[in-house]
Amino acid sequence: MDFDTTVKLHIYETIAQTTQPPTTRDVAHALGAPLTEVEAAFDTLHKKRLLVPEPGDPARIRMAPPFSGIETAFRVKVQNKLYYANCAWDALGIPAALHHDAVVEAVDGYNGEPITLEVKDGQPLPQPCVIHFAVPAAHWWDDIIYT
């Protein structure tokens, strides 16, 4: 397994276990690797669109899709853990990635009312809702934080 993959797995496993993404220093310490190599791996993973660094602070992770590194309006409860997702798609992506049931608390983008979705036994429970995509697929990564 190459080093970039080792870093990728460490990032995602850390988030899965703790709900929080590690910094470059955290990863370097955990893997016993030089910080410069971890920084290079973060850059490669960003180019592969597997993480998004915090604007202005590339040592921190803003997104490791479907997980968010900051609190958002998409709260995903899995057992006794609370994760934050980047969008509605990612909110369902968290139970999909963790292979676990979840309760998603979000806000209706139309009327601002709270909305709850539940994934149970590997399927979302029926809910009369639609999900709106505002940005065409070709431009999602022009500004992925906005998207």
């Binding site: 669109r49 899709p65 798609w89 809910q127 999900i131 995509f133 065409p136 431009h139 990564w141």
Partner: protein, 56 residues
């Protein structure tokens, strides 16, 4: 506009193996197939103009 079942399909397809060694973001041609499978076609769902491959 997507319904919940379409969104769940995207979530599972995109992220179902994200915590594994081989996980990666789907390539543009794979994205087209994934979207088409749930009826998402047309320019809005065409990622081919996306430049992600230029950075890998």
């Amino acid at each position: 506009m997507l319904n919940l079942n379409q969104l769940w399909y995207l979530a599972v397809t995109w992220y179902g193996n994200r915590l594994t060694v081989d996980s990666r973001r789907p390539a543009p041609d794979e994205m087209v197939e994934i979207f088409a499978k749930i009826g998402l076609t047309g320019p809005f769902w065409d990622p081919q103009a996306d430049q992600w491959h230029a950075a890998t």
